[in-house]
């Protein structure tokens, strides 16, 4: 079964391109100790350590097939993102019995908006927070367009906005209206 009515959206404006990345799988890694058994298992299975506070860790071929991204979300939670469904499932399965933590598959529960261009910062500032604009390798969770969004900078002029699925339409509408005014100085 596949959701036949899922809509993709792309917004383009001067210096900005926003698209919905439906291919990303997401899981919540929950643990009781960021340095414990579960963290070691993550390092072993994913190949990267759990990131520090407000940090994100990307695989060497970030967003290439088979690579993962880890994004800190709270002291007991890190998001695991991956585009290769099979590898993602394998990782989730491998971590299921790691102990001292658990994996909660959140795929489809979040929407990932890929924001590219030289005006990424301008957009984030107009969504509600300049403090929300992450530097490369940072993940910042804040209130954008009146909803909670995790902004994750994966490379220069490219940021991922991870938003609860139910608010994705709201966020996209706000971005669309903002981008329409980008031409105004």
């Amino acid at each position: 079964m596949a959701d036949t009515l899922t809509r993709e959206a792309t917004i383009e404006a001067d210096g900005l391109r926003v698209s919905v990345d439906l291919a990303v799988h997401i899981a919540s890694l929950r643990y009781f100790n960021a340095d414990g058994v579960f963290a070691a298992a993550v390092r072993s299975v994913v190949g990267m350590a759990l990131p520090g506070v407000l940090q994100a860790a990307m695989g060497p071929a970030s967003w290439g097939a088979g690579a993962f991204t880890l994004a800190w979300r709270s002291p007991t939670e890190t998001l695991l993102l991956g585009v290769d469904g099979e590898r993602f499932s394998n990782v989730v399965a491998a971590l299921a019995d790691a102990g001292e933590g658990c994996v909660v598959d959140q795929s489809g529960g979040f929407r990932v908006l890929r924001v590219c261009g030289e005006r990424v910062f301008d957009l984030l500032a107009r969504l509600g927070g300049s403090a929300s604009a992450p530097k490369i390798g940072e993940g910042r969770r804040s209130r954008l367009a009146d909803v909670t969004v995790l902004a994750l900078c994966v490379r220069p002029e490219e940021t991922l906005l991870i938003v609860d699925r139910v608010y994705a339409e709201h966020l996209l509408t706000w971005i669309r209206e903002t981008a329409a005014d980008f031409a105004t100085p």
Partner: protein
């Protein structure tokens, strides 16, 4: 003609080669590019601009900036009409349309001006006293109609407004020399620096002079990377140095494309340090009829002359108690304006001989009267102890010294102190996180202001304490003739210039028609506090918030009550510094973006299948699926009947979902729920109530066990966020040693519910695992299953009272499952059903809905859970609070069922139950009420005093003047044995 355009070089800001046509009160006029509306009106000798708020007296342009109290106009047409805009701030443009406010039928012949004839009957607070008998409500509609000034469009604003967040190390508010000096110093110290200037042209109040120093500073600031925002007015400073500012992108009254334009931008700037360099306002002199068109601030007239090339009059008298009057006189004479005299309130000894510079000074004198109603025609000068002298003039300027613009400092929590020698309030040291420089700090010497501002900019950029301000500057010879002009040596303004027997009102507050007599009346009636003075007389209210009136009003109050101004004090300045549009505050939050609304994963599918969407909490959900011509209520009735008879398909995706994991999960849930969850076997589910620490019902839902350390929780749709937050709080603050992870998964899992006697047949036909059949999967159990490889969590539970399957599946597959099931619907005569039908069914079954049948006072015992609590030996959150006497009060409201005695009248939700019509002691209220299609009569739930003991009793339900008799029954209304849920 009195006011007229001056010849070049006067008019530094206008482009005489570009004529602009605009309309004022229906008359087409012309001005030049660069003119403000006020400048253009004055250049066209339009003196009468509006009518005053209370007495409808004729008023003209009084100032040249944001402090304008009287020159208010409505600008724009149709939906773009903006009310009460200051003419002094509107740049004219081709086809600008402006209109006077508060007058009918015209500003020249205003019917309401007749009120002026009864002015003696309308002192401050008159409506508090006059309109009490026989009832305030008799007068209220008329008074409300008369209140207010301009008129809004009454239509939706077609334009757009946006909000931008920014961060900076040092933020400077004000683009004058002091502000620029601070910005340059801060930037040189390596700080990320931002400067906000309210005008289009930086340079501050005297920017029209083409100041070389200001220009150099501006260039330097640009080179150093200072972010400069012109036309950006900081209107408020909030906690932790959050400064909000309005950037005007398209001025009011602009004609724009029909689709709307980006009109304003709200800047929300978080700054490590803020420097206020906001200058000072000129203080008016108070004399009889000082509100006539043709009376204005001296500095304003000078600016109109030099910046806009407009002589506001040809024969000028300056009423003064400040040296600045002489500088203005000279400045006006330089461009050809005839200054007749400076009427100086101060004694001759206080006037510096060199300041007069050929201008006639009448020392120790005051203006005793003004002739002319719609325009000044002359005045009488009364020397104290001398013979009155009549002067034929067409312009009276007011030079009463300056009042530092301390608004931001005050908003930031800074204190003020009164300087008696200069008659002004200045910041008493820096406010937390900010400092003041330049005139707003009481530093009127240009050189000292620039030096001090640079020191402050440097210090704050380095995180050091700012140096104290060198307040003063009157005697600084270096700056005379440029900026200083000795204003700090202004001396006390003496408002009591009224000469006995001289008619004419002496206005303190021109916008609110508050006179010296009103202040005196307030003092006599003991409204001595400055806060009382403001509320009683309305001085300092309105769109200008007393920018030209505050100091004179409190000085007057001080004199009436024999107190110094410092003892009278000031009101606390609050944001906004100047009015801002509602559009600016709303920003993008209009229409679809008014608030975030949650959309179902299968929203489009429901849309395509005829859903009638309504808001339920934050969710947009199908209330029903009406057929052509069918009402919502009828659709809900039809859907209910179909579910009861065969089966229905429902999208329950908003149902709250949490996964709770960890070795202490069972123990933790036992503490959170009234029910015991640790005894659940894997695959079993149980209903549970959640209480807060006060014992009141917070939420409810089903808990199912997925594994030894793994639970699946359903909460109410609206309650999932607060439940998750509550769990986190308990874990982080109380049960810190528990190893439990609570993860919200509402959006990950859609919920497709199939309910009704044929529910399983339908699912089986769609290919669901036979192991889910009712005979092998009992009510209140959960199975993990799959359909075409898609994982499912299937819960046998029912909110309808029928055989029910809640199929939880990854949200991406919700539409596909709905489509798949819908393909078999006809086989069973099944239907889609919405929230309305679900509500009907749950009321028929007597199931509570948290927040509808319960409120912030409902305890578990009130809704029939007393025995469940008794059965549980272990502790749980809220239990101790249930031991309080109030919790065991026999008179508590308890959940009951109600049926109307006549068997047909629907009991209104919210209707009160009482022995007699209101006002009466209420016994309870109706919480849920629907027509039951199965029973063919209305059924309702209610909270009723001692309800559990009153079954069979007849009660009276009152609603909007009608009384309905109803019988108390024990729910449920159908299937009391609960057989249907088992299939």
């Amino acid at each position: 003609m009195s006011a007229q355009r001056l010849k070049a070089p006067a008019g530094a800001w206008i482009d005489r080669s570009r004529r602009v046509t605009f309309t004022f009160n229906g008359v087409r006029l012309t001005g030049f590019q660069g003119d403000t509306l006020a400048a253009a009106l004055l250049a066209n000798d339009v003196r009468l601009v509006g009518r005053s708020f209370k007495l409808h007296r004729p008023r003209g342009i009084y100032s040249c900036g944001i402090e304008e109290p009287t020159g208010l106009v409505d600008v724009g047409r149709g939906a773009r009409r903006t009310a009460n805009v200051r003419a002094t701030l509107i740049p004219i443009h081709e086809n600008l349309v402006a209109q006077s406010v508060n007058c009918w039928p015209s500003v020249g012949w205003d019917l309401a001006a007749l009120i002026g004839g009864f002015a003696a009957l309308l002192p401050a607070g008159f409506y508090y006293k006059t309109f009490k008998w026989p009832s305030w409500h008799l007068f209220e509609p008329t008074i409300r109609r008369m209140a207010g000034l301009g008129r809004g469009s009454g239509q939706s604003d077609p334009d757009r407004y946006e909000e931008v967040a920014a961060e900076t190390d040092v933020l400077i508010v004000g683009g004058g020399v002091a502000g620029l000096s601070a910005a340059v110093a801060a930037a040189q110290a390596g700080a990320k620096t931002t400067l906000l200037a309210s005008g289009a042209i930086p340079g501050g109040a005297l920017g029209w002079r083409g100041d070389v120093e200001a220009t150099e500073l501006l260039e330097k600031a640009r080179r150093l990377g200072v972010r400069l925002h012109s036309r950006t007015m900081a209107f408020g400073i909030y906690d932790h140095n959050l400064v909000c500012a309005c950037e005007t992108i398209m001025p009011d009254g602009s004609d724009a494309a029909s689709g709307g334009v980006l009109r304003e931008r709200l800047w929300k700037i978080r700054a490590r340090a803020v420097i206020a360099a906001t200058g000072a306002f000129e203080r008016p002199m108070v004399f009889p009829d000082n509100d006539r068109p043709g009376v204005m601030l001296a500095g304003a007239a000078e600016k109109y002359a030099h910046a806009f090339g407009v002589a506001c009059g040809q024969r000028v008298v300056i009423a003064a108690n400040s040296d600045s009057a002489y500088a203005v006189a000279k400045s006006l004479r330089d461009v050809g304006v005839n200054v007749l005299a400076v009427v100086d309130r101060r004694p001759p000894a206080m006037i510096r001989a060199d300041s007069c510079d050929g201008v006639r000074a009448i020392a120790g004198a005051a203006i005793g009267s003004v002739s002319g109603t719609r325009a000044v025609r002359g005045c009488t000068v009364i020397p104290l102890g001398g013979k009155p002298e009549r002067l034929q003039c067409d312009l009276i300027l007011s030079a009463g010294g300056h009042a530092p613009t301390v608004h931001l400092h005050s908003q930031a929590g800074g204190k003020l102190r009164w300087l008696d020698e200069s008659a002004m309030f200045v910041p008493d040291g820096p406010a937390p996180g900010m400092a003041s420089v330049g005139a707003c700090a009481g530093v009127f010497s240009r050189g000292a202001a620039a030096d001090h501002a640079a020191e402050v900019g440097n210090a704050l950029a380095r995180g050091l304490a700012p140096p104290p301000a060198p307040i003063g500057g009157a005697s600084d010879e270096r700056v005379r003739g440029t900026m200083g002009r000795g204003v700090s040596g202004a001396g006390r303004s003496l408002p009591g210039t009224h000469v006995p027997g001289t008619p004419g009102k002496q206005f303190v507050d021109l916008q609110n028609d508050v006179t010296l007599d009103d202040v005196a009346l307030a003092a006599r009636e003991n409204y001595r506090s400055v806060e009382h003075l403001k509320r009683y007389t309305t001085t300092g209210m309105g769109t200008d918030q007393g920018k030209t009136s505050n100091i004179n009003a409190l000085v007057a109050m001080g004199e009436c009550t024999e107190r110094e101004p410092a003892q009278v004090g000031t009101t606390r300045f609050r944001p906004p510094f100047s009015p801002v549009t509602l559009g600016l505050i709303a920003g993008r939050r209009v229409g679809a973006l008014y608030r975030p609304r949650k959309h179902l994963p299968a929203h489009a599918w429901h849309e395509a299948h005829g859903a009638w969407f309504e808001d339920f909490g934050d969710w947009r959900r199908p209330a029903a699926y009406p057929l052509a011509g069918e009402s919502l209520e009828a659709a809900a009735q039809r859907e209910t009947a179909i579910v009861r008879k065969t089966a229905g398909l429902f999208d329950g995706s908003p149902l709250g979902k949490l996964e709770v994991f960890g070795p202490d999960a069972a123990r933790f849930l036992d503490l959170m729920y009234v029910g015991t969850m640790s005894t659940l076997a894997v695959g079993q589910a149980r209903y549970g109530l959640l209480l807060n620490e006060n014992g009141t019902v917070m939420d409810d839902g089903i808990v199912a066990r997925l594994g030894e350390q793994h639970y699946w929780l359903n909460t109410s749709s609206a309650g999932v966020d607060r439940t998750a937050a509550s769990f986190e709080e308990w874990l982080q603050c109380e049960y810190v040693d528990f190893k439990v992870a609570v993860t919200p998964v509402t959006s990950r899992w859609a919920n497709v519910t199939v309910a009704g006697p044929r529910a399983w047949d339908w699912l089986a036909a769609a290919g669901f695992d036979p192991a889910l059949a009712p005979d092998s999967m009992k009510h209140m159990t959960l199975r993990e299953s799959a359909l075409d490889g898609v994982p499912l969590r299937v819960l046998r539970a029912s909110f309808s009272g029928e055989l029910g399957y809640e199929v939880n599946l990854p949200a991406d597959h919700a539409s596909a499952l709905l489509e798949r099931l819908w393909a078999y619907a006809d086989r069973y005569g099944a239907a889609l059903y919405g929230v309305e039908a679900l509500q009907v069914m749950r009321v028929e079954k007597g199931y509570i809905h948290i927040g509808t049948d319960t409120d912030g006072t409902t305890l578990p015992g009130d809704i029939g859970f007393a025995r469940a609590m008794d059965r549980k030996a272990a502790e749980f959150v809220g239990r101790r609070s249930l031991l309080r006497p109030a919790a065991t009060d026999p008179d508590r409201l308890q959940l009951v069922g109600l049926t109307p005695a006549d068997g047909k009248t629907l009991l209104p939700v919210g209707a009160q139950i009482a022995a007699s019509p209101p006002p009466a002691l209420t016994e309870g209220h109706v919480t849920s009420s629907y027509l039951s299609p199965e029973l063919g009569r209305p059924v309702a739930l209610a909270m009723l005093t001692r309800g559990s003991q009153r079954t069979g009793e007849r009660v009276r339900v009152h609603h909007l003047g009608t009384t309905i008799e109803a019988d108390v029954v024990k729910p449920p209304f159908i299937d009391p044995a609960g057989k249907r849920v088992h299939g």
